[in-house]
Amino acid sequence: MRASILVLGLTATQLGATECGGGITRDPGFDLWCGETLCAWSVAQGDVRRAATWHEADAGVELLASDAVIEQRTPVDSRDGTCIRFELVSDIDESAQVALDVDVYGDGTVEKSFPLPTTHWRQASYVFAVQAPFTAIRFAIAKHGPGRAVVARMRAAIVDTGCEGGVALDGGPAPLGALCETGEDCASAICVSASFFTPTRCAGCDLASAACGDGEVCGVAPPSLPERGVPLACIAEADKALGEQCRDGAECATGVCSAGVCSSCAASADCGGAACEPAYPAGPSLCAPGQAHAAAGEPCALDADCASQRCAGPPRQQCSDGRSCKTDAGCPVDAALAPGPCTTVGIQGGRCS
């Protein structure tokens, strides 16, 4: 039961992620600049700079040198829709070859490349379909050649019409954590649903068959791309530290998985009368957390848990859905398609010193 609650929480974070007025790309107007680089788009190759568009104060992005690529992964999936239209306003010289690459799953394989026409601030529009199920698309604008290429707006959106009769892009076998309908959709050939209420996703192991090797358990694997769900896979048994996500106590070094987090207690009965509670929201359950109750060498998640006021161990960084992360980019997006936040919530596998 506790495992079901965990997986439900993981998948729910992906729902509604693209509901931003129908648009599925962040900063379609290239308006967000963090210093001299784009905030919402990544520069995958070459250099870019801010450039004036129709107005000096409404900036676009100029792709410099002969090879430059900017990209953005969007969390759209087949539950949002399968027909996508993107519109692009650009100023492209004849001597520059610019294309919009579509990479389903964001796995590095470009399924379709749309050459962009030579134009002076005119809008180009394309519609294409993606074969369901799929999870996430990476859009990349790639320029080759010496000419000037300034992109002012690149907006993609789910649409209802325009894809009839076209050939849908096939993203290939789905990776772990991606949506699936049957095992044939998945590279792992395993498509499971963690609970009745959650969609089926590709997994590395099947909870029903428990076909993992010796010393392994079918549990919560480290997250991959934030657009995908945190996958199930065969992982080392009793290898997770206090504070890490889990599905079963067998995954945790403490042997206890409470509310989807490796903990030191599961109930007050485990604490000799003291309360067994999460040390912080979506954190590990400890006996009397925050009350300086733990002696030296006992598990802790925060300094306040220890009598010594000192909890030693690496910091625990996680997204709002509980998955571990290192930066905001590793977290699912919010309603405005902005990722994160990735915050330090406590100590992972801590011990009072």
Binding site: G29, D31, L32, H55, V89, W121, Q123, R153, A338
Partner: protein, 546 residues
């Protein structure tokens, strides 16, 4: 029916004319050359009533002056050569009369543009010196020259005539006075003026009123040139004293020998007449009810009756006195019909006067509110392509107009207008991009107005159409995602076209509702688009006229 009426009127006029001709001696031949020209020369506005005045003078001469219809030569819109030809033909007829032993009397009338040295006949001119020479060359016993033109007094000044003396007696058997008399509508330095309401020049109108009997000061049933002059002098000066151009002084100068009077009309011979009774006092206007033309307009003093010769028909007599206006309906047949004041209604009247060459004094200040959609074009298409959305709402603005009434239906002036367009915004994760613009236009405005009527509220109300053009100044502001504002300014030409209905709710206060289309292509962008600011607007105007 109309034809029957025309025949009846013609018959009555023929009888009247026959009786009038009986007043002139058979041994004296009478001729008239009556010329009217509305055409203006360089820098002159076309007149409106000069040619109509000529026709009215001719008709009055036949009706009341004792002239046979075939002896009155009416020439309108002539060239100088045409005038010369008609003068030559007239000279031939007079010479034939003289050869037959008959005296000849000639009346020469001209209404039109003139300067101190020439008559302006459209683009051409006829020198006054030449005209004088040709008129003097006519072998007449008596020549009467009537000039209704600007600076027409210069004619006699050039001639060197002396001021009029008293005329005594004119024999029925022959002309006791011989020579030339010049009756001019204005002095040598004055402008002659037309009246929109009278639909005539002030001078000719009052001259004709005088000839119809109002000028018969001694009540002998005929109007001499001296009586006509005195009447026209006073009435014209009275009527023009309040105009923007100023008082107009009729002049009479003569070079006559003998001691007889020079009669110009015989109103007693008219078959029909309207009598203004002795008790009537005030500014009096006699209007043809069917033709809506003013037949007579004079100030009637209490104490003596005045008889105005008219053709049989229906007339309205308006008498304004002491802030009251009496409106009387009079139908004349054979004989004289007196105005019965007791049967007149009382109402308000507005008398508007204007002059063909001179603008009336009305000046109007207007405050205009505008609301309407802003035009969509390539510029706004580019905004939409870049992700901007037009905010709900309409463009709005305010304008101020200053207009001067050049004539009854024409206003000229200037305007200043300021309008703002709905904002265009684009959401971002920070502040939304917000692009706004406004346009100011400074220019000249011409407006044509068709009043609903001639009096009161209807005269102050009407439909209008206007066209403006000038300099457009556009100002744009883009507030970016960090809240930084960038303002740009542009300039170019601009036009505005509109129309509507204006209502004069008071003598000075008015309101108007209308439509306006503004077009000011002044705002550019880096994508190569130019926005024509403006669009279809509804306008509401408040005005003050003084």
């Amino acid at each position: 029916m109309h034809r029957l009426l025309a025949i009846t009127a013609a018959l009555a006029c023929a009888i009247s004319a026959r009786e009038a001709r009986a007043q002139t001696p058979a041994s004296v031949a009478t001729y008239a050359l009556v010329i009217g020209s509305n055409a203006g020369g360089a820098g002159q506005v076309a007149l409106r009533y000069a040619e109509d005045d000529a026709r009215r003078v001719a008709a009055t001469l036949v009706e009341l002056g004792g002239y046979a219809a075939d002896a009155v030569d009416v020439v309108v819109h002539p060239t100088p050569d045409a005038v010369r030809e008609h003068l030559a033909a007239l000279g031939a007829r007079v010479a034939a009369d003289r050869a037959a032993g008959r005296q000849a009397r000639v009346l020469f009338y001209y209404s039109g543009h003139a300067r101190s040295t020439a008559l302006d006949l459209g683009p051409d001119e006829l020198a006054l010196g030449e005209l004088r020479q040709r008129l003097f060359a006519l072998p007449t016993t008596l020549t009467v020259v009537v000039l209704d033109a600007c600076q027409s007094g210069a004619f006699s000044r050039i001639k060197g005539a002396r001021p009029a003396a008293d005329f005594s007696f004119n024999s029925r058997q022959h002309l006791d006075a011989s020579g030339i008399a010049v009756l001019a509508s204005s002095s040598g330095s004055e402008l002659s003026q037309e009246s929109e309401q009278l639909r005539s020049s002030y001078f000719t109108h009052h001259l004709l009123v005088g000839l119809r009997g109002a000028g018969d000061a001694d009540g002998d049933g005929q109007v001499s040139i001296d009586e006509a002059y005195r009447y026209a002098y006073h009435q014209t000066l009275l009527a023009t004293a309040g105009t923007a151009v100023g008082g107009q002084h009729v002049s009479l100068e003569v070079d006559l020998k003998g001691h007889g009077q020079v009669p110009l009309s015989f109103p007693r011979a008219a078959t029909a007449a309207i009598e203004l009774p002795a008790a009537l006092e005030g500014q009096t206007l006699v209007e043809d009810a069917r033709a809506h033309t003013v037949l007579a307009e004079t100030y009637k003093a209490r104490g003596a009756s005045v008889r105005i010769a008219v053709a049989p028909g229906a007339y309205r007599v308006l008498v304004r006195h002491a802030g009251r206006l009496a409106r009387c309906a009079v139908t004349t047949g054979a004989g004289t019909v007196a105005v019965e004041l007791a049967r007149c209604s009382s109402e308000a009247i507005v008398v508007a006067a204007s002059k063909g060459d001179a603008p009336p004094p009305a000046l109007r200040l207007e405050l205009v509110g505008l609301i309407g959609g802003e035009r969509h074009d390539g510029f706004t298409d580019t905004l939409a392509a870049f992700g901007y959305q037009e905010q709900i709402g309409a463009g709005a603005g305010v304008a101020g107009n200053v207009l001067r009434q050049m004539e009854r239906r024409l206003w000229l002036g200037g305007f200043v207008a300021y309008t703002t367009a709905p904002a265009w915004t684009q959401p971002t994760e920070r502040e939304p991009l917000r692009f706004t613009w406004s346009t100011a236009i400074v220019g000249a405005l011409v407006r044509g107005v068709q009043p609903f009527g001639d009096h009161g509220f209807a005269a102050r109300s009407g439909v209008y159409a206007q066209l403006g053009a000038g300099l457009g100044l556009g100002t744009t502001t883009l507030r970016d995602q960090d809240g930084v504002r960038t303002t740009e300014r542009f300039a170019g030409w601009a036009t505005t076209l509109g129309g509507g209905v204006t209502l004069g709710v008071g003598r000075a206060i008015g309101v108007a509702l209308g439509y306006q289309l503004d077009y000011a292509p002044v705002i550019d962008n880096l994508a190569g688009d130019t926005h024509a600011s403006g669009g279809h607007r509804l306008t509401a105007t408040a005005s003050y006229t003084y």
